[in-house]
């Protein structure tokens, strides 16, 4: 074998051996370091899944060519029928479904069948009758909605543009909160890792001194600590991701029921593994930076 390859393999073996030795000598510190990284990447994973979910919900609403029109209480059936005829004649509507007050109550009762208190409070009188209109093209939604708003019998018009903009607003808030929380946790993890690696270096002060006296270079001593930090990062990221995946799996039945026909689940494995890959890369950087800071600080 090429002598250089033998030499390099020997060095990396030595680094890994020393690293493993360091971990075995202080397992509680190793556990703490992994746990801190795990927390950070658990939160990163949860926010990644949440952002994915929000994107899917937004996509769903964006692809729905539908306008919901709620009528005033005083709207007469003849006026409603006239409006329906007018809409059909415009050629922009694919279908118009009328939902009467009674039907609305039926739907409401079905949705809240497990909550008798909510059922008691609501009667058909306080629920509006409505149209559920599908447009031929999503581009017609705005003009249909604008025309309907002019009608005197119309109380409220809801169409995806409003829902989508509301969802985008919420997603933006979610993203900002996520970034702030993750930044806080990353700084926290880096500081704690610097302290843990620093303590490990202090514990090995005598061994380090011996190694130096028999000819070890600074980097020979530093590399195992840096690799140790990277290893904590990788293990913490994989465990954090796994834990978040477990939480997602546990919550899937509830979330699926809550989201009805919105196709968020199942989250494609490619996305999940993409998140894992990015997290592992981030963890390598995070673990490497923290332990590098520690060795520069404590191994001058």
């Amino acid at each position: 074998m090429n002598p250089l390859r033998v030499k390099l393999r020997g060095s990396s073996n030595m680094i890994l051996k020393t690293m493993w030795h360091n971990i075995r000598r202080s397992p509680y510190q190793a556990f703490t370091a992994v746990f801190i990284i795990l927390q950070t990447f658990f939160v990163v994973s949860i926010f990644s899944f949440a952002v994915w979910g929000s994107a899917m919900i937004i996509n769903y609403f964006e692809s729905l060519p539908q306008v919901d029109v709620f009528f005033r209480n005083e709207a007469k059936q003849t006026e409603i029928d006239a409006l329906k005829k007018q809409l059909e004649e415009s050629g922009k509507t694919a279908s118009i479904r009328f939902v009467s007050k009674e039907e609305a109550l039926k739907i409401y009762r079905e949705q809240n069948k497990d909550d008798p208190l909510l059922l008691e409070l609501v009667t058909a009188d306080i629920l509006p009758s409505s149209f559920h209109i599908s447009s031929v093209s999503i581009n017609d939604l705005s003009s249909i909605a604008d025309n309907l708003k002019k009608s005197l019998i119309v109380e409220r018009v809801v169409f995806p543009k409003q829902v989508v903009s509301k969802l985008i607003e919420w997603t933006e808030v979610l993203r900002k909160v996520g970034i702030a929380l993750v930044t806080f946790l990353v700084v926290d993890a880096i500081l704690i890792m610097v302290i843990i690696v620093g303590i490990k270096i202090s514990h090995k002060k005598e061994d380090i001194e011996i190694m130096r006296l028999i000819g070890a270079t600074n980097w020979y001593i530093r590399w195992p600590f840096i690799f140790e930090g990277v290893l904590y990062g990788i293990v913490g990221a994989i465990l954090g991701w796994g834990l978040a995946l477990g939480a997602l799996w546990y919550a899937t039945p509830f979330l699926s029921t809550f989201l009805h026909e919105i196709p968020v689940f199942p989250i494609p494995p490619t996305f999940l593994f993409l998140v894992l890959g990015i997290e592992v890369l981030l963890a390598i950087v995070l673990g490497g930076i923290s332990s590098f800071m520690a060795v520069i600080r404590y191994l001058k």
Binding site: V6, G10, S11, E209, I214, G215, T217, Y220
Partner: protein, 232 residues
């Protein structure tokens, strides 16, 4: 003769203002065996620490195997140290590693291929007579055996120079002689040896050059004596 070590007007003043060494001049040729003698605090260990660039002199110049110690860049210190085998007064063995691992460490640091490490460690342990203890931890060995392990570590990289700081310090006379005989046999193969000791019995009975220190000053530099009775 090739000069291996040269100290020229070397002084070392510590931060407290105390002079550990004052105007020391001597040189050691390749293949020489030198006793460095003097009472505790006379400056023996300070000289060794200067020779491996663990300390810098306050004034003067030091040359060790073509390395100018004062001008040596920081990055070259490990290279210098790999050329010097050091038997430390307090041995400095890693207590949580076996004797084999302790000795292999020097080779691993020098990036010796793994395949050669086993062979070389076993050779060194064979040479110092503790091959049977290779898998034991330092705490399981006697004082003499530990000293041999420290010597094996100093020898394993086949250095040009071996510095032994009080290698017989805590040993009985019989074991001390065994250690000295071992160092002498290493010297016979061409390795330069400086052994710090205050064991007058050993110094008197061996025909070796003696450099004496007292309160940081060179007080004696005697060539090998013909009267010495030889190794017991």
């Amino acid at each position: 003769m090739t000069c291996m070590i040269k100290l020229d007007k070397v002084s070392k003043k510590y931060g407290t203002g105390v002079f550990a060494l004052s105007e020391i001049n001597f040189s050691v040729d390749k293949g020489e065996f030198v006793f460095l003698v003097g009472p505790t605090g006379s400056g023996k260990t300070t000289i060794f620490r200067l020779l491996i660039r663990d300390l810098l002199p306050s004034t003067g110049s030091i040359t060790v195997a073509d390395f100018d110690i004062v001008k040596l860049p920081h990055g070259k210190i490990p290279t210098l140290r790999k050329k010097i085998g050091f038997v430390f007064q307090d041995l400095k063995l890693l207590l949580d590693q076996t004797i084999f691992e302790n000795i292999a460490l020097s080779l691993e640091i020098a990036k010796v291929p793994k395949a050669d490490i086993k062979k070389r460690v076993e050779e060194a342990l064979e040479k110092v007579g503790i091959i049977n203890h290779k898998d034991k931890f330092p705490i399981q060995l006697s004082g003499g055996e530990l000293q041999r392990a420290a010597i094996a570590r100093a020898l394993v990289l086949s250095p040009d120079i071996v510095l032994a700081d009080e290698p017989t310090g805590n040993l009985d006379l019989e074991t001390s002689w065994e250690i000295v005989k071992l160092l002498e046999s290493i010297n016979e193969k061409g390795t330069t040896i400086i052994m710090a000791t205050h064991n007058t019995e050993i110094v008197k009975n061996l025909s070796k050059r003696v450099i004496g220190l007292d309160k940081g000053r060179l007080v004696r530099d005697e060539p090998p004596s013909r009267k010495a009775s030889g190794v017991k």
